[in-house]
C-alpha cells in the first residue's frame, strides 16, 4: 500500500493549490454544498408555496418544474446549464458557477416537496384560527404556518443537505476543481495508489455526511419530544 502518496497530497485534496493558486478540493466541495443549500432553500420555499397555492396559474408552473426536475438525473441538469448558458448569455459561464446553479435548481425541486409536506402536515385549524383572528392569507402563512412548518422540516433539510454534499461530486464532470476532481488529478499524476486515494476521499465524504446524518437524527428526536410535550 502507498499511503505516503495520499499523505503527501493531502493538502491538495483538502484545499487545492490555495495560497498560490485557486481554491479547490474539499474546501470547494463545502462551498458548493453550502452555497447550494442556501440558494435551494429560497428557490425551493418559493416553489413549494406556489405548489400548494389555490391559484392554478401559480400551482401548475411549480408542479411542472418539480415533476420535470425530479424525473431527470442531476447529471443531465448539470450538462443542461453547461450547454444552455452559452446559448442564453452568448458566452460560457465559469464551471463552478454553472455547477452551482445546476445544484441549486435541482435541489430546490426536492426542497419544494419538503416544504409542501411540512405545510400540509400542520393541522388545518392553525390556518383557520389565524384567518379567524383577522390575518390575511399571506400574513397567516408568514407569521403562523411557516415558522411552525419550517421548524418541523429541519431534519429533512439536513438530510437534503447530505444528498447535496454527495451530489457536489458531479461538478467534477464539467471540470470544477472539487474533492473528486482533485482525487482524479492526484491519481493521474501518481498512478501508484488509486485504491488508497479513493478510499481516502470516500472517508472524507463519509465523515461529513455521517456527522450530518447523525445530527439530523438527533434533531428529529428533539423535535419529536418537543411536539409530544404539547399533547
Amino acid at each position: 500500500m502507498h499511503w505516503d502518496t495520499v499523505y503527501k497530497n493531502l493538502d491538495y485534496l483538502l484545499i487545492g493549490a490555495y495560497p498560490q493558486g485557486p481554491l479547490g478540493g474539499l474546501a470547494m466541495t463545502v462551498i458548493l454544498a453550502v452555497g447550494g443549500i442556501f440558494g435551494a432553500f429560497w428557490l425551493g420555499l418559493g416553489c413549494g408555496l406556489m405548489r400548494i397555492s389555490k391559484r392554478r396559474r401559480l400551482r401548475w408552473p411549480a408542479m411542472f418544474f418539480i415533476e420535470i426536475i425530479r424525473g431527470t438525473p442531476l447529471l443531465m441538469v448539470v450538462f443542461w446549464f453547461y450547454f444552455l448558458a452559452p446559448v442564453v448569455f452568448g458566452h460560457t459561464l465559469p464551471e463552478a458557477e454553472s455547477a452551482l446553479i445546476a445544484l441549486i435548481v435541482f435541489t430546490s425541486a426536492y426542497i419544494a416537496e419538503i416544504v409542501r409536506a411540512g405545510v400540509e402536515a400542520l393541522p388545518k385549524g392553525q390556518m383557520e384560527a389565524a384567518r379567524g383572528s383577522g390575518l390575511s392569507h399571506v400574513q397567516a402563512m408568514i407569521f403562523i404556518i411557516l415558522p411552525q412548518a419550517l421548524f418541523n422540516m429541519i431534519p429533512s433539510f439536513v438530510n437534503q443537505f447530505v444528498s447535496l454534499t454527495k451530489d457536489t461530486s458531479l461538478a467534477f464532470i464539467i471540470g470544477v476543481n472539487e474533492l473528486t476532481k482533485a482525487a482524479t488529478q492526484v491519481n493521474n499524476r501518481t498512478l501508484t495508489a488509486p485504491t488508497e486515494i479513493f478510499i481516502t476521499i470516500a472517508l472524507l465524504y463519509f465523515v461529513i455526511c455521517y456527522c450530518l446524518t447523525e445530527f439530523s437524527r438527533y434533531l428529529e428526536r428533539r423535535i419529536n419530544r418537543y411536539q409530544a410535550r404539547g399533547r
Partner: protein, 233 residues
Amino acid sequence: MAYQFDFGQVVSGEYGQWLLSGLDVTLRISGIAIVLSLALGTLVAVLRLSKVRPLVWLAASFTEFFRNTPLLVQIFFWYFGSYSVLPDAVNEWLYARDFEFACGVIALTVYTAAFIAEEIRSGIFSIPKNQLEASRACGLSFLQAMAYVILPQAFRVIIPPLISQFLNLIKNSSLVMTIGVMDLTYMARQIEAHTFHGFEAFTVSTLMYLTISLIVSFSVNLYNRYVLHVRSR
C-alpha cells in the same frame, strides 16, 4: 452569430441510432442492477434484524458507509481501486469481459442496496412484532418466518418506496458514463462532440429519462390507489 437549433440532425440517422443504443445500455445496466440490489438489500436488511451481533454490526456499517459516500466516488473506487483489492483471478476474468459495465453494475448495486436495505427494514418494522413471535411459536425458524410470513407482508407496503429507489437507480445510472460505459448520457455527450449541438442532444436524452420516470411514477400512483387504497394528492 445566433445559435441555430437543429433537432432533426440529432434524432435521425446515425446519431438517432446512437441515442437508441445508449438507451438500450441504460436500461440493461439498470435492469441488472435492480435485480442484484434487491437481492443484496434484502440480505442486508435481514442480517441487520438478526440477533447475531457481528452480522448486525456488519450490515449497519455497510448501509451507513455506502449511503454516506457519493456514488461517483464509489464508481471510481471500483473502477480504479478494485484492482489491488480483488484477487487476481477475478481481475483477469473481469478484464477479459466488459470491465466498465461490470464496475457500473457493482457500484450501482452496492449503492442502491444500502438504501433498499433501509426501506425493507422499515417495512419489516411496520409488521406487528407478534407476527414473528406467532410464527416462531408455530415452529418456524427465524429465516423461515422471515421468508414465508414477514417479508411477503412487508413487501406489499414497501413496493412504492422500493420502486422510487429503482427510479433513483435508473437516474443514477447516468453517472457510469464517467468510466466509459456507453449509456444514454455518454451518447448525448458523444453527439455533442461530433455536431456541437449539445443543447439538442441533451434535450432529447433528458426527455427519454423523463419518459421512463413519468411512466414509473404513474404506475406507482396506480398501485397506491388500487392496491393500497391511498389517495394521492
